[in-house]
């Protein structure tokens, strides 16, 4: 009744997954690991988009609308502008922060305007308020535009070219654009995806090695007539499954973010569409077996679950280095980088998210390399489990 090593590996894999799925803590850690990145990205994008919108869409409380119907009509036609009746006491409303800016049109506006005399418009605001300043600027520039439009019309009606009245042409060039900030956020995404793979693998990597020995079930498991290699492979498969699940959740969430967040408001040309998502998964999924195999190998040395976790936290620091370097010094992807484990995935992700499409060959090469190293690490773990010192934790 001897069953094949593959069947035995699958048996171990299934039981490991059952045991894992019933542990609220490990489910929780996978969720945290895979939600963390997308949530941060969504939050950052959303904040930026909101700030942008706040400046562009302005509700202007106007006191004395009836004194300047033409002006108010013109304002209403401007995009993103809404005119609402102003409060009875504008100064009090601003002082008590009920309004940021209130526009007051005095009673004699129509009379002076008709007589081509400067007609007064008052802006009531508190310049010490952070939110009021960009808004005041926006409103003021609107009125300045109206001002110069009317001025041009008056000059033309008197037979003078309006150009004479504009000795300077002022132009603003925005450098710290939201697009640039958005690109910065994008550069964090590879790091988040790789972290999801790492944290998704961790609970099975530690629980099925150091944890198994700590609770004293390793000995009984190894007495089964299954080859050690099959047992290790089963655990490795289980860990790979959870790591991949974590990556897929992260990928899907990022996809949703790019689908539903109003990123075009930020002037972002990039979209994470189907092909990019496929590229991301194609780069990172083959990384999962590699990560799990390395984690398991290290955790097998640990005497306890806790010790294993501290080893892996150190490993996580090491693994984050290329990611951080890439956000600070954008790597120009050189060909050799694709052939380094972990770094290769980083470069592939940066390419994919940067709108380039690297050759399929690079994906295949990186995946193959990862699998080879994973196989070596699995072999290594199997060899460790032949050692009496490891089994009995001396």
């Amino acid at each position: 009744m001897r069953s094949s090593a593959l069947t035995q590996a699958l048996v171990v894999c299934r039981r490991e997954l059952t045991n894992w799925s019933r542990d609220r803590r490990s489910i929780f850690s996978v969720l945290i690991g895979s939600l963390f990145g997308p949530l941060i990205v969504a939050f950052m994008f959303n904040t930026m988009a909101n700030r942008q919108r706040q400046v562009e869409d302005v509700k202007i409380p106007v006191v004395g609308v009836e004194h300047a119907p033409a002006l108010v009509d013109w304002l209403r036609q401007q995009p993103g502008i809404e005119i609402v009746p102003g409060p009875a006491d504008p100064q009090d409303a601003v002082r008590t922060k009920r309004e940021d800016v209130v526009v007051v049109i005095p009673r004699d506006f129509a009379e002076k305007f008709a007589a081509s005399k400067p007609a007064q418009v008052r802006f009531v605001s508190d310049s010490s308020s952070q939110t009021a300043r960009p808004r005041l600027q926006r409103i003021r520039s609107l009125f300045q535009r109206y001002n110069s439009e009317i001025a041009s019309l008056r000059l033309i009606s008197r037979g003078i070219s309006p150009v004479v009245a504009s000795p300077l042409q002022l132009e603003d060039v925005e450098v710290s654009s939201s697009q640039q900030r958005a690109a910065q956020i994008l550069s964090f995404i590879p790091l988040f995806i790789m972290m999801a793979a790492f944290t998704g693998a961790m609970s099975i990597s530690t629980d099925s090695t150091a944890g198994e020995r700590e609770r004293g079930s390793l000995e009984a498991l190894l007495i089964n007539p299954a080859p050690r290699g099959a047992i290790v492979a089963g655990k490795w498969l289980a860990g790979t499954a959870t790591a991949m699940a974590s990556v897929i959740i992260t990928g899907a969430l990022l996809y949703a973010i790019f689908e539903y967040l109003p990123l075009q408001d930020l002037g972002l040309r990039f979209r994470l569409g189907g092909p990019q998502l496929a590229g991301v998964l194609g780069a990172v999924l083959p990384l999962c077996p590699f990560i799990v195999a390395i984690q398991m190998y290290l955790a097998t040395f640990a005497k306890s679950f806790k010790e294993a976790q501290s080893y892996l936290s150190l490993l996580m620091m090491v693994q984050m280095v290329p990611g951080f370097l890439a956000t600070m010094y954008p790597l120009s992807s050189k060909a050799w980088m694709y052939f380094l484990p972990w770094v290769g995935q980083q470069v592939l992700l940066t390419d994919v998210l940067g709108g380039k499409s690297p050759s399929v060959l690079f994906f295949v090469a990186a995946a193959a390399l990862n699998l080879v190293i994973a196989a070596v690490a699995v072999q290594g773990t199997t060899a460790l489990l032949q050692r009496e010192k490891i089994i009995f934790g001396r």
Binding site: M1, R2, S3, T7, Q8, V11, V12, R15, T18, N19, R22, D23, E212, R215, G216, S217, L218, E219, A220, L222, I223, N224, P225, A226, P227, E388, I391, F392
Partner: protein, 243 residues
């Protein structure tokens, strides 16, 4: 049938097992009796192939366990020292898990599992997670998963250690039952009464060496002590007050 020939194992300078030989026959219960640290667990670990002897030969039925450990493991059911369970799997799942690793599947696996759960009086806890088990329940679960494949040879390392009266009785019943079914049962213990109540043959081990072996009557005759406990003390030199 289990036969050990001249087994040696040392850890650094310590000779944990130093020339142990004995045979455990089919259809008989053999007790490996000795004080703590005498080498019982190390001997069993070599027997169930997780440790390699420095020297000596181990036969499980006709399989040389040193040369073909996997073949030997197929013929063994083992309750190791300390019965670690998976806290989030139920007793039934533990039994099925090990059954599947032995290549048992489908209805056969279900029947055997059910049979073991009944035999060990575990139906009440069968579908509860192991995290909340008492010591006795843990031991029973570990024992059930160890013999799910109905192995010819059963090794039990201190099976009744720390169990209450009812659980101890249950384990003894299992041992008798296995014996009556023709299995080879080898168990270790440091409790005299237990060994004398169950065993056909007692092997007394002390400081890594066999100091006596035979039926309980043989041991009494050898030492000239009527009481087995006195015989044990006389043989192992434990608890002897220097005069």
């Amino acid at each position: 049938m289990i036969r050990l020939e001249n087994l040696h194992k040392r850890f650094g300078e310590v000779r944990a097992v130093d020339g142990v030989s004995f045979t455990a026959a089919d259809g008989a219960v053999t007790g490996l009796l000795g004080p703590n640290g005498a080498g019982k667990t190390t001997t069993l670990r070599m027997l169930y192939t997780l440790m390699r002897p420095d020297e000596g030969r181990i036969l499980v039925d006709d399989v040389d366990a040193v040369i073909d450990p996997q073949g030997a493991r197929l013929r063994l059911g083992v309750l190791p020292d300390g019965s670690g369970l998976y806290p989030r799997l139920t007793a039934r799942e533990h039994i099925e898990y090990f059954g599947e690793l032995q290549g048992i599947t489908g209805a056969d696996l279900r029947n055997r599992t059910e049979h073991l759960l009944k035999m060990l009086d575990m139906t009440a806890i069968a579908d509860r997670r192991a995290a909340g088990y008492s010591h006795g329940e843990r031991t029973k679960t570990a024992l059930a998963r160890a013999i799910v494949h109905n192995p010819k040879n059963v090794l039990l390392d201190e099976p009744t250690n720390g169990l209450d009266v009812m659980s101890t009785r249950a384990v003894r019943d299992i041992i008798r039952r296995l014996k009556s079914e023709g299995h080879t049962v080898l168990f270790s213990s440091h409790v005299m009464q237990e060994v004398s109540a169950l065993c056909d043959t007692i092997v007394v081990i002390a400081r890594g060496q066999i100091v006596a072996s035979g039926s309980p009557d043989d041991l009494r005759a050898q030492t000239g002590q009527q009481n087995l406990e006195d015989a044990f003390v006389a043989l192992t030199g434990v608890d002897v007050v220097p005069s």
